[in-house]
């Protein structure tokens, strides 16, 4: 047996190749029960959606696995999306479940290139929920909806027994219209494109983790929940079809979004880690908890893939808006290695940035 080979003569490169093939195989869902890992936005969530849900509901719009489904109505091109909000605790520095429920759905439409037209909201309420808390959250929804100019035009309320949900869950659905003649799609991303990020990463996830209170950590970290439509519209206006694709980096963080695009477009993505904006408080909390901010959820940040000659103009357009004031060019698209995201570390080395596997669990030492 020579170095670099295993017993049956396989080389390291062949093992790497085998792993690449495995990553590209259609996801199967084999678990006997749902575990918390299925909700964390990483590989298990992907297996749940692609291995169980999508095959059963199969249709071309759904199979795009985009933030919103696109369809035509007469001459209009419409987008529809839906999202459930189960955040615990309901209120956290920088936001609350009501505000999140509006912004989250608005943002799924926005990154699909659709101007939000209308929302619906379903409230699942726990027996015993204080009326004041409910009023506060519905007010937060109303304020957030007014701020983006999108009415909540229909809704539903249900009440479940005490213990069946954590105070309240909110499901919102949004409809939007595509007014730009641009076909945003991961498959439009090509080597040479630049990767733009609209601001700091990790604020929301870290703010919520700290707000749960079981970490005994105190830091002034606020959720970044905010609507992204004006930012998305500015990018569409400035770039036209030089804008290839946008994603909002929610569960699983920026790392997961980049992996999804790399796999869908069969391109390599290289990120210069020192260019990724991270607040010092978020870096600090991440250091203590052993969590990489690239994998932490955001609720008001988008990643945009833009043709290289339009990158400066796009960045300027983003920075001109409050929601993109800290926007940065963080990386670029390459032909190699297809389906993979690499990071050049601030230390001058490099690493692979893979999809999140389960919950971002803290390391113990």
């Amino acid at each position: 047996m020579t170095r670099g080979q295993v017993a049956d003569g396989v080389t390291e490169d062949q093992v790497g190749e085998r792993i690449e093939q495995m990553r590209r195989r259609p996801q199967k869902f084999r678990d006997e029960r749902i575990t918390m890992a299925h909700g964390a936005g990483g590989k298990a969530s992907r297996a749940l959606v692609e291995g169980l849900v999508v095959p059963l509901l199969a249709n071309p719009a759904l199979e795009q696995l985009s933030d919103a489904g696109l369809f035509a109505a007469g001459t209009a091109r419409l987008a529809v999306t839906t999202d459930a909000f189960v955040v615990k605790p309901m209120r956290f520095p920088g936001g609350s479940i009501g505000e999140l429920a509006v912004n989250g759905t608005v943002n799924d439409l926005a990154v699909s290139g659709a101007r939000p037209l209308a929302l619906t909201a379903a409230l699942v309420l726990e027996e015993g929920l204080a009326a004041g808390a409910l009023r506060t959250e519905v007010t937060a929804m109303a304020d957030a909806a007014r701020a983006v100019g999108v009415p909540v035009v229909a809704g539903d309320t249900k009440v479940v027994e005490r213990g069946s949900c954590d105070g309240m869950y909110v499901v919102t659905t949004g409809v939007g219209v595509l007014e730009h003649d641009v076909a945003l799609s991961p498959t439009a991303v090509r080597p040479g494109d630049k990767v733009l990020l609209s601001g700091t990463v990790g604020d929301h996830g870290i703010a919520v983790m700290l707000a749960r209170g079981d970490l005994d950590l105190e830091a002034d970290v606020r959720s970044d929940t905010q609507p992204l439509w004006s930012l998305a519209a500015a990018l569409l206006d400035v770039c036209g079809s030089d804008l290839r694709c946008m994603r909002d980096a929610t569960r699983g963080g920026v790392a997961t979004v980049l992996n999804e695009i790399a796999l869908a477009a069969e391109v390599g993505i290289v990120i210069e880690e020192s260019r990724v904006p991270v607040r010092p408080e978020v870096t600090g909390a991440g250091e203590i908890l052993g969590i990489d901010p690239l994998y932490v959820a955001n609720e008001g940040k988008l990643v945009a893939f833009v043709a290289p000659h339009r990158a400066d103009a796009a960045l300027a357009a983003m920075r001109a808006l409050p929601s993109g004031a800290e926007a940065a060019l963080v990386g670029e698209v390459r032909a190699e290695p297809p389906g993979r995201v690499l990071g050049r570390t601030g230390f001058g080395g490099h690493r692979l940035i893979d999809m999140l596997v389960g919950d971002p669990l803290p390391r113990i030492c």
């Binding site: 017993a7 210069e272 250091e287 690499l342 230390f347 080395g349 692979l352 389960g358």
Partner: protein
């Protein structure tokens, strides 16, 4: 971030890398084992290898506390958690470790109440808040985490929190290093010593390694520059014909360790005659149990446990990987049957495990791609 960024400086790394390369004897290959899983994580996370010449090979050692837990002990934990009224608590790393009957995450999906905590004191707090329930802390880790478990037991005793107990899986590092050095199929040139363990036990317990085996050991910190400097110190020893224990992590590690921590360890724990290590088998005097004076907080005494030894899956070669005999990708099931989302072996579970680290970060490490993208 102050006091962190200084240890991640790319320019200093480049200088150190050049000096390390200058110390290499032409034609010689150096195999250096980083004992600690935290080191493995840092190496991949920051691309430390990119600053080292190809003649220096870093071999991942046994110091990932999650990776050495045998399946039977996971099953024991699940058996405890499935009893009525029990809350089992553990560090997050343990949640996905597969036992013979699935992981803690899957046990939760079947109805168990297993909660992730960040400190054993959090487990004690849960016990105080739930006086009608039995709260068990599933303790894992080397000498690094054992003192915090010991202090928690002392506090439980002081406060009389009788519904609290510890399922103790604490292990000690020295017997594991011995087992590796006794392994006939391995050739190592030096060790990067486990910095965090050494904050507790100091550097003296390693002195037999240079003395009996002629191998240098440098206690290393966990920032990427710590590791590079430690490799530099090792290479310097080679160049000067020395083999000694040296302490690179002097800002944290005292040569004689932490006497307060050692005292509580001695008070609360006793050495087990034997303990089974995943992949390494049964090793004498390699693990801790609660001392007789604190036996009432010992979950193994409080609950009837199956205590069944579950053989490691046949295809799994975690043992060889832990010993550094096989590289992760040389294992038969690596990356195919055994992946981070469906791990067979524990080396694939924790991000500190050699296999998970290699799978997550390592595949392109050797390619040395030019990534100066945005200059």
């Amino acid at each position: 971030m102050r006091f962190v960024d200084e240890f991640r400086d790319a320019d200093l790394a480049e200088v150190l890398g050049r000096e390390i390369t200058a110390l290499c004897e032409p034609g010689r290959h150096y195999k250096v084992m980083e004992v600690c899983g935290g080191h493995t994580h840092t190496i991949y996370r920051y691309g430390v290898q990119d600053h080292l010449p190809e003649s220096i090979e870093l071999v991942h050692g046994p110091g990932c506390p999650v990776c050495v837990i045998p399946m039977g002990r996971v099953d024991d934990g699940i058996a405890i958690a499935e009893r009525d009224g029990v809350i089992l608590t553990c560090f997050g790393d343990m949640m996905r470790v597969p036992g013979g009957r699935g992981s803690f995450l899957e046990a939760n999906a079947r109805g168990a109440d297993i909660r992730m905590v960040y400190s054993p004191l959090d487990a004690l707090r849960i016990a105080r808040q739930n006086p009608d329930r039995q709260v068990v802390f599933y303790a894992i880790g080397f000498e690094t985490t054992a003192p915090s478990t010991a202090l928690t037991v002392l506090r439980a005793a002081q406060e009389g929190v009788e519904n609290f107990s510890v399922f103790c899986n604490h292990v000690t590092i020295i017997p594991a290093i011995k087992a590796i050095l006794d392994s006939p199929d391995l050739r190592l040139d030096a060790f990067l010593g486990p910095g965090h363990v050494s904050t507790v036990i100091g550097c003296r317990p390693y002195e037999w390694i240079p003395r009996d085996f002629g191998l240098p050991l440098v206690c290393a910190g966990f920032e990427p520059l710590d590791l590079l400097q430690s490799v530099y110190m090792i290479m310097k020893q080679f160049a000067e014909g020395r083999a000694e224990v040296e302490n690179q992590y002097g800002r944290v590690v005292q040569y004689d360790g932490n006497p307060v921590a050692l005292k509580v360890l001695a008070e609360v724990f006793a050495l087990r005659p034997f303990f089974e290590w995943r992949g390494l088998g049964s090793i004498a005097h390699s693990a801790l149990q609660l001392a007789p004076a604190y036996a009432r907080f010992d979950a193994e005494q409080r609950f009837d446990l199956p205590g069944v030894r579950v053989a490691d899956p046949k295809a799994c070669q975690c043992g060889e990987v832990l010993k550094g005999v096989l590289k992760p990708w040389e294992c038969k099931v690596f990356g195919t049957a055994c992946t981070p989302e469906t791990p067979i072996g524990t080396c694939m579970v924790s991000s500190e495990g050699a296999c998970a680290a290699y799978y997550n970060y390592g595949q392109y490490a050797k390619q040395r791609l030019t990534l100066e993208v945005l200059s």
